[in-house]
Symmetry: C2
Amino acid sequence: MKDIYAGLIGFGTVGAGVVKLLQGNASLISDKLGARLILKKIADLDTTTDRGVQLSPGMLTSSVNDVLDDPEISIVIELIGGYEPAKSFVLRAIAAGKHVVTANKALLALHGDEIYAAAAKAGVEVLYEAAVGGGIPVLSAIKGNMAANRFNTILGILNGTCNYILTRMTKEGLDFADVLKNAQELGYAEADPTFDIEGIDTAHKLALLLSLCFGTKVQFDQIYTEGITSISAIDINFAQQFGYRIKLLAIGKRDGDRIEARVHPTMIPVHYPMADVDGPFNAIRLTGDFVGPVMFYGRGAGQEPTASAVVGDMMDISRNIIAGVGQRVAPRGFINEKIASLAIKPIGESVSRYYLRFSVVDQPGVLAAIAGALGKYNISIESMIQNGRSGDYVPIVIITHEAKESDITAALAEIDGLDMIKEKSNLIRIEDNLE
Amino acid sequence: MKDIYAGLIGFGTVGAGVVKLLQGNASLISDKLGARLILKKIADLDTTTDRGVQLSPGMLTSSVNDVLDDPEISIVIELIGGYEPAKSFVLRAIAAGKHVVTANKALLALHGDEIYAAAAKAGVEVLYEAAVGGGIPVLSAIKGNMAANRFNTILGILNGTCNYILTRMTKEGLDFADVLKNAQELGYAEADPTFDIEGIDTAHKLALLLSLCFGTKVQFDQIYTEGITSISAIDINFAQQFGYRIKLLAIGKRDGDRIEARVHPTMIPVHYPMADVDGPFNAIRLTGDFVGPVMFYGRGAGQEPTASAVVGDMMDISRNIIAGVGQRVAPRGFINEKIASLAIKPIGESVSRYYLRFSVVDQPGVLAAIAGALGKYNISIESMIQNGRSGDYVPIVIITHEAKESDITAALAEIDGLDMIKEKSNLIRIEDNLE
């Protein structure tokens, strides 16, 4: 039986999960491959902490060269995260003719083009299923059996921390800050949660989905990114009254030669399957021109689901190695020469329905002033709720018909300049017109 | 640019969809493959009916030999369905060294072993993503990125006709026969709907999922199969009162060296994502030891989704052809020598909670008699509803704690022998203890 050797760089939680999986399911894996998949070396600066797995003597090293320079190792797994030195290690592995498996969405969202070009030149695979949706096999499905489709729409709940926070705010009526604090205590949110709660992690993942679905380079800094920090219990409550739930969504749409790419809190109807995706779960809904809508649902993070995706990629590469193939599928599913450079449509041009919440002084003429400003920018009102009083002010909530974001922005600026408005108005985009 | 030639056998609805997709997305497909994927010949006995697609002259033939004997054709698509002549054609294609793509679940559920053995010998691929869940890429995910997992549980809503009927019964309070008749008029159900409504189609698909998830041969006739014909509006109504929805589920579970394999109407909690899978949609929920639960959702049938799966398989094979590979992945994901022959546990040994509905004469002592019979077989009652009168009798509904199916069967036989029981009692299994 053939032996295939892999080396791991970065021995954290996911790395330990990969070791656990390769050990625990070794016979299953060889029954499928007809070959043994062997982790030969693990490089990590910390060679002393107990990760709860047994390693053979000499397997763990503090020198990354023991992985990158080992001619027997044909698959390198990068799990250190961040831009550097991860990028240098990945490029060195590729230059040495080794295949790469990584879970590093930040690296690929910003430096994917360079890495993929190097992989094409060297004739090796770069697989990264674990970078989006944890164990959910969505990237391989886009490159694989769904490849015949022209994709139209991407919707994703891609960050478990945000979804956990929003789910608890919804179910328990709590405010953002309280749930975040508790989530940090429980280990569901990082000590510095910025990447998660500001939507940056979700935007990294959206960038990867966009490149795969639309076959394009993605200018990461053009993705409109808004986190969940301004969502309050009162918004969640109003959303429920209108029949919606609030989720942090990654949204990608094809619009002629451009794409929409945005990450923001979004109201979706409660009867949508995605509205029931709770807690640490992730879901990705794609629409292809032939397959129609397809949704994938599962654990979006965690040691074991992420290890499942990493080892799945390793097995895919192993099948190539057994068959004597170098790069069988380009990292974005399209051959490199056919990758487009589609522009991202500015957020101001996007069209949506909106939830608008105004905090007003309770006096005659307020509603007329708001309605007047909206009318001036061609924004028509679908429904309105004014109920109760929240502290010193009265909340007025308006759901609009479809409007252009730049019109909404202009109207809100005008409204927020009025004396009778007590605090900055809040807008949440609505997504309820799915094909 | 390399040309890859395919031949299609069976030019029905799905076949026409494949032609449409290959024509409509030809440039997308070649941008991904770096090769042209060309349908060279279509064989069908009917060469005159207009299928709404344009073919080049001479492409459509009534002789299957024009496909099977053409040395230029390297991929044969079988879309005629049924056992023969489909099986002979598939075996001839394999013997000629051609790769096979098929949507024929009935053929593979009963004759898969023979076909897969021939494919291993000839070194060709047999792909059949379209056979389960229409366009949902679940089979390739099991063989692909989820391959590192030991699967524990399979749950599937796999038949669009049944799900459409149950959804309408649930939403409109209608009875089975009325919805079926209307579905036939609308073309959502076949003139002879037996395969669908008796659960046979679902059992075929379950057999394929079992073989892929558990790496085993499956004795199709050992799968317990019960359709939806005995579900009445009254059961659906009671289910709702208990917080459940009724779906025709395919259930597969690993139980040591045996597997559970059953198809039957099943009550699942309304808050489960699968409970919201409505109308013609399908869903498959798999649990792997590392990935945890993963759910796939999409259109389970129809011309375009099915064509998406067929052409996706063709592209997968094309990537092998370009790389000079014969069989890269065995048809069940495990190498043939490692395929097990796990026995299917008899339905009598399975353990579940049960919904039991009794039609009784409204007289003293009835409930005592029923409860006594249940107690005799160690079946304990979790909850009970007796409300209203339905015609001449009173319905009594009992939800049991976990019980062994053979105990339930024995208790029901005894109860149904009582004078006070007006008609055969109804049982529906409950699935609400998902990992």
